[in-house]
Subunit: 199 residues, 2 copies
């Protein structure tokens, strides 16, 4: 028998992904114990984020205005678009410092099991960027999962006829990885994608 | 490179117990995706809980007013106090329907490792209840952990000289448990606490 406001908070926390009833209880009791200031800082952070953060009108990355930081940056090459599933993937690509083009966030991947068809993704919006932005290459940078591969294949089939270069990121052994512990799918991909050694 | 409001939210979520940086990111992106209404319901639940929920002035259980539901209930026996570490433990005891007395929440347990000494617990407040409430029995219902046992021993030493009955909940095999899988400490306690069979 908790107080009603506490029970409501437990219920709301329990709706978050990966937070079961026990975790929700634990988090609620943590918020009960901490100072008002600390707890309200979290409440405020949620409200401010919802008020201020939007999606880029062009590439569907997160943004604070109509366009995201990359679409707003005139220093980025407009002729190459790197297609990712999620805004978090952009952060991962940026960390490599290997890419200076623009992005397009699909906001998901095709997944028949979860009932996500291509119409749920930002695919139409990607296609409509090709001509006006004079795109010459699209890098399919979806995850190397069943869903990500299916999405990449689907996009390749749509994009190839438009006469542009369509590439897919390589699969293989992670750098620093160990052959002995590699799963056979990854090792198979690594063999398939082998390239001539420059000596 | 996330937007600032999103990064602030990730940081705040990461301060919650058991939520690492990756989980914080996942939760923040979930809140980004859901409707404003859904996200703000959580923010509001935190604020309302902090505003409305207090600790009982007598037993330190959670309360909506000055006293908690049990301290306010005239049907509860005042001469027996069940001492627990946490308000959640009260919910567990209540589920047994075996106890009709009052409670006292220590708000923790003695833990030298975490630097929690007896002075951090609501022990003085417990002692000051014994005489005015004419308490005849104190049930030490702290967890059967090292910290809980140490706390129970410490309290027993303080309470015994006051001339009241001091009891400790039994340790032993859980009902439905399996001897084969019982750890030796639990089984040892079960043997130690054996009682004559009434036939």
């Amino acid at each position: 028998m908790y107080t009603e406001p506490l029970q409501i908070l437990i219920d709301e926390l329990g709706k978050l992904p990966g937070i079961g009833p026990k975790s929700a209880q634990r988090l609620a009791f943590h918020l009960l114990r901490v100072s008002d200031e600390d707890a309200l800082r979290l409440a405020r952070a949620i409200a401010v984020m919802k008020e201020k953060t939007t999606f880029c009108e062009r590439c569907f990355n997160i943004a604070e205005g109509t366009l995201c930081a990359y679409c707003n940056d005139p220093g980025r090459e407009g002729s190459v678009i790197c297609v990712v599933e999620d805004p978090r993937d952009i952060v991962a690509v940026e960390r490599t410092h290997e890419f200076r083009g623009r992005y397009h966030v699909l906001q998901g991947a095709i997944s028949p099991i979860e009932g996500i068809g291509p119409e749920r993704l930002r695919i139409g919006e990607l296609l409509s960027r090709i001509e006006p932005e004079a795109v010459q290459e699209v890098i399919l940078c979806t995850n190397p999962t069943i869903e990500g591969e299916a999405t990449a294949m689907y996009l390749a089939r749509l994009l190839k006829p438009l006469g542009l270069r369509v590439t897919r990121i390589a699969s293989g052994l992670p750098v620093g990885g160990d052959l002995e512990y590699a799963d056979e799918l990854t090792l198979g991909r690594a063999l398939e994608g082998r390239h001539e050694v420059q000596a």
